[in-house]
């Protein structure tokens, strides 16, 4: 069964009299345990698409389903659970809480899912170690470099061990060595834990870990290639 399914998705933004068409009738299926890379020029609608997949935004038209449930039909309570437990989202611009340390940012999803203090701290430290930031746990976001923030955001996405990871340019700010270790982490999560991964990237090397590469242009899928 497809974990994620988009059918005829459109997204329009009304700017005064003119409308911006970010997505223009888009179909997409992502299977369980699959890694899918989204590529495309800037402004082609990749982030918009990711937000719809993660139930953070609603499409103007079409249907988006998650594990067979129509996202538009789900009650707020189920959406909250979905965002907290089913999906780990890595934002293009990280979106860390500026008042909290790296560790507490990673703990945040676990606070809302009512995981005990000690267990939370243990898991946050373990995740920070996995992204190579064990010694930055006490730093606030403004005391971290761009790449470090990106890795905190990745650690946070993994906090509640979600089955689906949506990563918007997770290696965009990283040198190739750190970037490769993150890509390796994502690949292992897929192979060893059976997680489903959708990642947005401009980097062919990053796209190489994906089973499928989907190219977008002007809000439409223009090409789909399968890695072998």
């Amino acid at each position: 069964m497809n974990v994620l399914q988009l059918k005829g998705i459109t997204k329009e933004y009304q700017l005064g009299k003119s409308a911006v068409h970010a997505l223009r009738g888009l179909d997409l299926d992502v299977g369980q345990g699959e890694i899918v890379a989204l590529m495309g020029p800037s402004g082609s609608g990749k982030s918009t698409l990711m937000h719809i997949l993660g139930a953070l935004d609603t499409p103007t038209g079409g249907t988006a389903t998650f594990e067979g449930h129509d996202l538009q039909q789900l009650e707020e309570r189920r959406l909250v659970e979905l965002r907290g437990h089913k999906v780990g989202f890595v934002f293009q611009t990280f979106h860390l809480v500026p008042t909290l340390s790296a560790q507490r940012n990673v703990e945040l999803p676990m606070v809302f899912s009512r995981i005990g203090k000690r267990e939370r701290a243990r898991r946050a430290q373990e995740l920070l170690k996995r992204v190579g930031l064990a010694d930055r746990a006490k730093h606030k976001p403004n005391e971290l470099s761009g790449g470090e923030r990106q890795r905190v955001a990745i650690a946070r996405a993994l906090a509640n061990d979600p089955p689906v990871i949506l990563a918007d340019e997770p290696t965009g700010n990283l040198d190739s060595e750190t970037g490769n270790s993150i890509l390796d982490l994502l690949r292992r999560l897929c192979e060893e834990d059976g997680k489903t991964v959708v990642l947005v990237t401009h980097d062919p090397e990053a796209a190489a870990i994906a089973h499928r590469i989907i190219r977008l242009r002007d809000g439409r899928v223009v090409e789909e290639t399968r890695n072998v």
């Binding site: 953070l56 309570r77 909250v80 907290g84 809480v97 606070v111 809302f112």
Partner: protein
């Protein structure tokens, strides 16, 4: 869960230290005003209570004609004198001692002058129980005798103390004799003058002698209560009775019993105790405190609007944070709880600071009032007042945060995240 939210709220407050402090200041100014005003008001009320009790005596009550004391506008009976059996009153259970004041107008004749002529005329005659002087000193007021004379004492019979104007008019000195004619069918009595009231004390009254309605004019003749009986018979002309109760007895209970008994006999009297008096004063002072509290409430309202404003901008600033929290699984209820705690904490800190400051201001004010009026003004720091203030300031803060928090929680996640 709550502790985690507390920690999150604490981190946010600490992060915006300057703004948080400004908000706290806005709150505590209001709270300080409220606490200080209420505390001073309560302190004054208690002080008045204590002063009244001290002056009046917690074991004393007054019997006076019904309507002479009470709410303004209350029906007054036309009679301002009543009949009383003083011996009976003294025998009432719980009564230790009693003193009464009777008043009549008598035909008085002075001693023969050098030319053999006597001054005569109708003058007010007031009969006083000697207990009035020995037991109820604080009610005597200006009843002060000029040097060379004395006041009435127990065991006195045919004696009189004269007002100074009357004494001058009749050219009477202590030791002289005057005659007083009571009821038409009674024999005139010869009374020895034992004292003359001091003109100075009587003409510059600091506080009126006795209760309202008892003559204290310079031409009054004061004679022993018993002697009144010889001149006018049974006491049907009592203006005032002072009663002291046995130690440990409830003065209000004894007073009510005596009053009920007298009324049952058709004697229209009111028993007044120190609680009645301080209640009467209390209605005035509590109106004043209510007015002060109203003013304080307005400053609290201003503080509340300040908190609202600060919370609103704070939430606006944190719209993106709210988006992040929702993106990682926070429910709207979580967000609102978080912000209610955050603004409630600010309110509470403001409340704690304001309460202490308010009590301090109240202590200083009370000391100043005490110095001006030469009384010890109690500083009232009732736990109830403190508890209500703290609860109130938390609630105020929390409610001020509720509305903007609700607004932010209702935003779609992506819109919240995109907020600059």
């Amino acid at each position: 869960m709550f502790r985690d939210f507390l920690a999150l709220a604490g981190a946010s407050i600490a992060h915006r230290r300057m703004r948080s402090w400004l908000t706290v200041i806005g709150v505590f100014i209001g709270i300080t005003a409220v606490v200080a005003l209420i505390s001073v008001g309560l302190g004054l009320e208690r002080t008045i209570d204590q002063e009244v009790a001290k002056l009046f005596g917690v074991d004393t009550f007054i019997l006076m004609p019904r309507g002479a004391f009470g709410r303004p506008g209350a029906a007054r009976t036309s009679a301002n004198q009543f009949s009383l059996d003083l011996a009976w009153l003294r025998s009432v259970d719980g009564v230790r001692t009693a003193a009464a004041v009777r008043q009549q107008t008598g035909f008085v004749e002075g001693p023969a002058g050098e030319d053999g002529r006597r001054v005569r005329g109708f003058f007010p005659v007031v009969g006083l129980s000697p207990e009035l002087i020995t037991e109820f000193e604080s009610f005597l007021g200006t009843l002060e005798v000029a040097p060379g004379g004395r006041l009435l004492t127990a065991g006195d019979e045919a004696v009189a103390v004269l007002g100074h104007a009357m004494a001058r008019q009749m050219t009477v000195e202590p030791g002289d004799t005057i005659t007083v004619q009571g009821d038409a069918d009674a024999e005139p009595l010869a009374l020895t003058v034992v004292g003359i009231l001091s003109a100075q004390a009587q003409d510059t009254p600091q506080q009126p002698a006795f209760a309202p309605g008892v003559p204290d004019s310079p031409d009054t003749i004061f004679i022993p209560y018993e002697t009144m009986g010889l001149l006018w018979g049974r006491a049907e002309d009592v203006r005032l009775t002072l009663v002291k109760t046995d130690p440990g007895r409830d003065v209000n209970e004894v007073a009510a019993r005596a009053e009920a008994h007298l009324r049952a006999q058709g004697t229209e009297v009111s028993a007044v105790t120190y609680t009645d008096i301080s209640e009467a004063i209390g209605t005035v002072t509590s109106t004043v405190s209510a007015f002060l509290a109203g003013i304080a409430g307005i400053s609290l309202l201003v503080g509340g609007v300040g908190v609202m404003n600060t919370m609103f901008t704070s939430v606006l600033e944190r719209t993106r944070d709210i988006g992040i929290m929702k993106a990682v699984g926070a429910s709207n209820a979580n967000i609102m709880t978080l912000f209610i705690i955050e603004s409630g904490l600010i309110g509470l800190v403001g409340g704690v600071v304001g309460t202490f400051l308010g009590l301090g201001v109240s202590a200083v004010t009370s000391a100043a009032i005490g110095r001006v009026f030469d009384v010890h003004v109690a500083v009232v720091a009732s736990p109830m007042l403190i508890f209500i203030t703290l609860l109130g300031s938390f609630t105020l803060g929390a409610f001020a945060g509720l509305w903007p928090a609700r607004r932010a929680a209702k935003l779609p996640v992506v819109d919240a995240l995109r907020y600059e």
